[in-house]
């Protein structure tokens, strides 16, 4: 039930996350946007699992675990950068130029 609206909501959340990653410049905010994308996908999995059985919900548990591990490592990396640059703004983090 409510498959269409759920998928539309998760697609909207995912898009908000992508737009945030593209336009924002603060490393912490970028990381929050990525988490939003992951949770949007979780919503998709849960919505679809009504029709396709449990494996979608099992996937959500794995995604949450992985997101927690990524958060631990990601925040540590952001801290390491902050120690060098006194800033987490990507505009100030430009020693390397693509």
């Amino acid at each position: 039930m409510l498959l269409g609206p759920s998928l539309a909501l998760s697609a909207t959340l995912f898009t908000i996350g992508v737009v945030g990653v593209v336009i924002r410049r603060n490393a912490i905010v970028l990381f929050m946007c990525i988490e939003l994308m992951l949770n949007a996908v979780n919503l998709t999995f849960v919505a679809l699992s009504q029709y396709h059985g449990l494996s979608g919900q099992i996937m959500v548990f794995f995604v949450m675990t992985v997101a927690a591990a990524e958060a631990a490592v990601g925040l540590a990396i952001i801290l390491a950068v902050f120690r060098h640059r006194q800033s987490v703004d990507l505009q100030n983090i430009n020693l390397l130029r693509g």
């Binding site: 970028l30 996908v41 099992i58 996937m59 794995f62 992985v66 390491a80 060098h84 983090i93």
Partner: protein, 502 residues
């Protein structure tokens, strides 16, 4: 040897290389939490990791020789020669990285033995990624690999460059993972299963549904970031430049092999029936990567950045081989990956040797006169550059030859022409390295005098260069193995669809 992957014993046997390596990873973790100081403990962790990787390689060889195949399906992991070949390449990259890192870490004063724990666990993730037959395993393998490599990229804690590389790799990597995950969710929605084989069987039944096509697009974006294909490449030069050089070599080879193995399986296996949809997309990615990688590499001031851009170009050649989706194309992917792994590891290893006060600054000027002072280092560097260029007589040439063969065989003449032209352009940045080493005089009499090549590094580099040349002259074993592995991939896909339909 048929293995019942529904039983616990069967899964343990089928995953023996991964299980062995995981156990060694945990042993090293225990070891370093107990012995943590100084050079001796660093070396101990390194050698134990090396033993673990060799044990894993032995387990892998055992499965390969006894032709392990699944008894039934669908399963979480695959058992076919394609997985074994990819896993062997990954373990070769891991073993070489351990050997190249040992003295590098001592020289740079990075006395943290956790480095090897992360290296082993990243390798475990890669093995799972290359051996996944279910999108859950694929995603978990990808993340185990990525999270460990994010940390490795920032391992030189005193360097702002390294921290910045880690931050960029982490943000882009997590972003790419989210795309891949959304693709997985959509494929699951379109087919009702996370199994690659079952999803493939569902797509076989009719035209690709819209949800499946969207899933394909998102999966391609996710993998595009991971293999550093243009236009998803902008992170690559910065991250490769800032990371410690042995880690750069590991990222350029191990990550690429694992991601390409999984991408090949997803495209050929799950989306095999939808070839008309993804062939043009992959062709466009390949052409973009070849053109952008090669042209921008021409303008790079340092060798490390040049190699970073050239790795984008090599991702393009590999994608060009995938465009055909044929057995010959998959064979070409494997042969090219072998050439790329050996050459790239040796090239980054040599770069680590050449850099005394930071390899980020090694430029054409700073290797002038290398041949007169250090003839062996210069010869190895030349062999690597020629192999990356695809010069006849090196393994790189065999790889490019196989790619051209597969493209022409399927009538993709335009892409074949672009591959040849791109290789010609790449001579413009590979050959100056050799010219500088052999034809320009050294800056001072004392130039290159402080280059120290330790015994493990020298052995690894010599073996890699030797293999590049020997297999370049006599490629039959490599090509035959790759061909058998590619054939086994297709047999496995047919069997998987058969199991899924029952």
């Amino acid at each position: 040897m048929n293995i019942d992957l529904a039983s616990a014993v069967g899964v343990t046997i089928g995953l023996l290389p991964e299980v062995v390596l995981t156990i060694f990873g945990l042993v090293v973790l225990l070891l370093v939490s107990w012995r943590h100081d100084g050079v001796g403990d660093l070396r101990l962790a390194g050698w134990v990791s090396l033993v673990g990787m060799l044990a894993s390689l032995a387990a892998l060889t055992w499965l390969w020789v006894w032709e392990a195949r699944p008894m039934n399906g669908p399963n979480m992991i695959v058992l076919d020669d394609f997985r074994f070949a990819a896993a062997a390449l990954i373990l070769i990259a891991g073993i070489a990285t351990v050997l190249l890192s040992l003295t590098y870490l001592e020289r740079e004063g990075i006395l943290a033995p956790e480095y090897f724990v992360l290296l082993v666990l990243a390798t475990v993730g890669m093995l799972f990624l290359a051996g996944a037959d279910d999108m859950m395993v694929l995603f978990l393998g990808l993340e185990v690999m990525s999270v460990a490599v994010y940390v490795l990229a920032g391992f030189q804690r005193g360097s702002a460059f390294s921290a910045e590389a880690a931050l960029k790799y982490f943000l882009i990597g997590a972003f790419a993972s989210a795309f891949l995950l959304y693709g997985i969710a959509l494929v699951y929605g379109a087919t009702g299963s996370t199994s690659l084989a079952v999803a493939g069987a569902a797509f076989n039944r009719g035209p690709l549904p819209l949800m499946g096509a969207l899933g394909l697009a998102f999966v391609l974006i996710g993998f595009g970031f991971k293999v550093a294909a243009a236009p998803f490449h902008m992170w690559t030069p910065d991250v490769y430049d800032g990371a410690p050089t042995p880690v750069t070599g590991f990222m350029a080879t191990g990550v690429k092999v694992a991601a390409f193995a999984a991408l090949t399986r997803v495209l050929v296996g799950t989306f095999g029936a939808a070839g008309d949809t993804w062939h043009p997309i992959v062709a466009a990615l390949a052409v973009f990567s070849m053109v952008i990688g090669n042209l921008v590499a021409l303008a790079q001031p340092t060798i490390k950045r040049m190699l970073a851009y050239s790795s984008i170009a090599h991702a393009g050649y590999l994608l060009a081989a995938l465009v055909t989706g044929s057995t010959l194309g998959v064979t070409a992917v494997l042969v090219y990956l072998l050439a790329y792994v050996l050459t790239s590891l040796a090239a980054f290893g040599l770069l680590a040797v050449l850099g005394r006060e930071g390899e980020r600054d090694v430029s054409l000027g700073s290797i002038a006169g290398l041949a007169r002072r250090r003839p062996w280092v210069a010869a190895g560097l030349s062999a690597c550059m020629l192999s990356l260029l695809g010069f006849p007589g090196t393994l790189g040439f065999i790889g490019k030859w196989m790619i051209l063969l597969s493209l022409v065989g399927q009538g993709h003449f335009m892409i074949a022409v672009i591959v040849v032209l791109a290789s010609l352009v790449s001579a413009g940045y590979y050959l100056p390295v050799i010219m500088s080493a052999y034809m320009r005089p050294e800056a001072a009499d004392s130039s290159h005098s402080e280059i120290v090549v330790s015994r493990p590094v020298a052995g690894t580099l010599a073996l890699a260069v030797l293999l590049i040349v020997v297999l370049g002259v006599w490629p039959t074993p490599a090509i035959e193995t790759a061909m058998a592995s590619a054939g086994s991939l297709y047999d496995g896909i047919v069997a998987g669809v058969h199991h899924a339909l029952r």
